[in-house]
């Protein structure tokens, strides 16, 4: 689950969480040029793929480096 309010999925017990930077622009950043913004979006999705490949027992954030 991608969320900018990641305390909520944690408290609800969502197992795999990717924190996002902005509430008003969940998987993006209006300050970036379009190409870089898409690259950031691909990176965020790759974090999701890492999450899906990773065994978890309880709510876990996949925040990247």
């Amino acid at each position: 689950m991608y969320s900018a309010l990641h305390r909520i999925p944690f408290s609800l017990g969502v197992s795999r969480i990717v924190p996002c930077p902005l509430i008003t622009c969940l998987l993006g950043d209006p300050a970036l040029p379009p190409d870089e913004e898409r690259g950031m979006r691909v990176d965020l999705l790759r974090r999701g793929l890492v999450a899906l490949r990773t065994p978890v027992q309880s709510p876990t954030a996949f925040a990247g480096d």
Partner: protein, 358 residues
């Protein structure tokens, strides 16, 4: 002006600091949601009702106003700015909200209460609707349940003021149901006139007779869903996109509600390289959708998923995306949506879901 803790008089009432978001303080709506914390002397907006309810034993010495998004995005900075205000005001207690059904406001109220309690050892309590996501983020924060909208302001303020004054006096609160707060999960031993077997028998007889009874052990209502096993063959998996972000075809032809959605919908994304702002829009009523409307891929990232599909990092992106709005969703309805979506996705052979929750 020093006075002994636990003592107040008409001349030296207890000092209450009130926390409000930008909207309740009348500073602005979504455009001001990233407002940094500021201090205002005395009560503001709903704080005036609170002041009246506290009088004469307590008074609102000041109000901290902060944007909801600011607390969410910069929690540590927000807390670092807010706690000195509370300390310098020599607050006896902090009251946050009431936030009613507003989710981000509720989360902010709980976050600030938790910081006051843990870092300043100052009693703090918040008001919000019992299904506000803020209820669960910072247990055991003391929360007064309110109506879903500001129509419930008078009741909420009365209870918040009464409980705050009890805490200022250093008195212990009674049980949650009797005092009017949500159970905090903290158990206290009390001496009951009847033993456990007798009390259980009374409860059972009431249950059989269909008359109301009060359980002594509340069972948590949130489902515990076991995490799905890890996937090792994503390169061959069909992946679906699900969102609570309210992305719909332009003009919202199916009239999806912008809050308290009554249903979920699905829209074809077959053959689409991305979602164009000319064809799709965000109708979510819980955040400022300006940036999302400029590029809906910011909530439903079709463009980036196509990159992963092309690279073979996922097998295939499923041809349909599933959409609802998540804000102010009643828990039972959200559980129903979840069951229905899971059934359909499983039937369609979907192995994984990218779920974007705004």
């Amino acid at each position: 002006m020093l006075r002994a803790p636990g003592a107040a008089s008409d001349a030296h009432p207890y000092a209450i600091v009130h926390y409000l978001n930008q909207f309740a303080a009348g500073i602005g709506a979504e455009k001001s949601a990233d407002l940094a914390p500021r201090w205002v002397d005395g009560p503001v907006g709903p704080g005036k009702l609170l002041q009246a309810a506290l009088h004469p034993a307590g008074r609102v010495v000041g109000t901290i106003v902060c944007g909801d998004d600011y607390v969410a995005m910069h929690s540590a900075d927000a807390i670092a700015a807010i706690l000195p205000y509370v300390r310098e005001a020599r607050a006896d207690a902090l009251i946050a909200g009431p936030a009613f059904g507003a989710g981000r406001y509720g989360v902010a109220c709980s976050t600030i209460c938790e910081a006051c309690r843990d870092q300043l050892a100052i009693p703090a309590l918040a008001g919000m609707h019992r299904e506000n996501p803020g209820v669960d983020v910072a247990r055991p924060t003391l929360i007064v349940p309110t109506a879903e909208t500001a129509l419930g302001m008078p009741d909420a303020v009365r209870t918040l003021a009464r409980l705050a004054l009890t805490l200022c006096r250093g008195e212990a609160l009674g049980p949650a149901a009797a005092e009017g707060y949500l159970p905090t999960g903290i158990k206290k031993n009390i001496r009951a006139p009847q033993n456990g077997a007798q009390r259980a028998t009374v409860m059972l007889l009431r249950k059989i007779a269909g008359t109301p009874f009060q359980t002594e052990i509340e069972v948590p209502q949130v489902d515990q869903v076991p995490p799905a096993p890890a996937l090792d063959d994503l390169a061959h998996a069909t992946v679906a996109l699900v969102t609570t972000g309210g992305i719909v075809p332009k003009g919202n032809p199916d009239r999806l509600e912008s809050r308290r959605a009554s249903r979920w919908l699905k829209y074809s994304i077959a053959g689409r390289a991305d979602l164009s702002p000319d064809e799709f829009e965000c109708i979510h009523g819980g955040f400022d959708g300006t940036d999302t409307n400029k590029d809906p891929d910011r909530v439903t990232p079709i463009d980036a998923l196509r990159v992963l599909e092309r690279n073979g990092e996922i097998g295939r992106l499923y041809d349909w995306m599933y959409v609802t709005t998540g804000n102010a969703a009643p828990l039972d309805r959200a559980q129903k949506f979840g069951r229905e979506l899971a059934d359909e996705l499983r039937r369609e052979g979907i192995r994984a879901v990218i779920f974007t929750a705004t």
